[in-house]
Symmetry: C2
Subunit: 156 residues, 2 copies
């Protein structure tokens, strides 16, 4: 209950801070994203928000995600080869993807990633993708969905 209200208050604050209009669709998307650690895709967000908000367009979800991303309020993750995943937590952190079910989890650890030779690039950021099998998947030995050819995958 309180969470709902808090999320809506935050949603308003974010819109004001970014100079975005307070539309009900935006509020709903922002409220859904607030504190969300599931790294949802655009479809996930559309599915969840449009349930409570029938008639809204998927394009609105993409529009909103794009403006939040452009203004630095949302991270667009490329860790899942099938689709983009979104993370409202914009603090530096890393991710862990399950090669079986594609669940994405946060790794909140700071690593020392000084690059000895940056090849003349001006490096502005980094992100570590860890691959593996989540607690739910690591025991059921199903055929991996996106296992081979990724990162530095070792044999299990």
């Amino acid at each position: 209950m309180m969470k709902q209200t808090q999320a809506k208050t935050k949603a308003k604050d974010i819109c004001k801070e970014l100079g975005l209009k307070l539309t009900p669709q935006r509020m709903a998307i922002l409220a859904y994203l607030d504190g969300n650690t599931a790294h949802p895709s655009a479809e996930d967000i559309y599915g969840a928000v449009s349930r409570r908000f029938p008639g809204m367009s998927l394009a609105t979800v993409y529009n909103t995600l794009a403006s939040l991303r452009d203004k630095g309020k949302l991270l667009e993750l490329t860790i899942d080869p099938a689709k983009k995943r979104y993370d409202p937590d914009t603090r530096p952190h890393h991710h862990l993807i399950c090669l079986d079910c594609s669940r994405v989890s946060d790794i909140d650890h700071v690593f020392d990633l000084d690059v000895p030779d940056s090849l003349g690039y001006e490096i502005t950021g980094n992100h570590i993708e860890f691959y593996g099998y989540c607690p739910q998947c690591k025991d059921k030995d199903t055929a991996p969905r996106l296992a081979p050819g990724r990162g530095h995958t070792k044999e299990r």
Copy 2:
């Protein structure tokens, strides 16, 4: 000249090792990938190989890439949000992408990436994506193509 021959020899060896038939299309794709550090996309590979090998199908490129990837001879990179990129160097290493021109370069440095809390996952691999601006792009201050909302991007 010699390179051509070497690449073809290697291509044959790889096919034999993997139990794949030695088709001219496969040879050409493998020869193109051998020692290639440009991290080409499927389209890139198709464009290059079909120039010397007219009439070949893009589907063949995808088929070949999939079998090489499945057999561990090719890394499929998700670092470029626009398309998958391929790397014939399957040794553990990391990558650096230019946020302006999408060029991908190798980072051949070993980092200590021990995770204190793996959240119950069985971690099998990792990959670091570095973001930045390549030597060619870092001076021309064009509007970034895929800059915001990625990794831990700092202000320039």
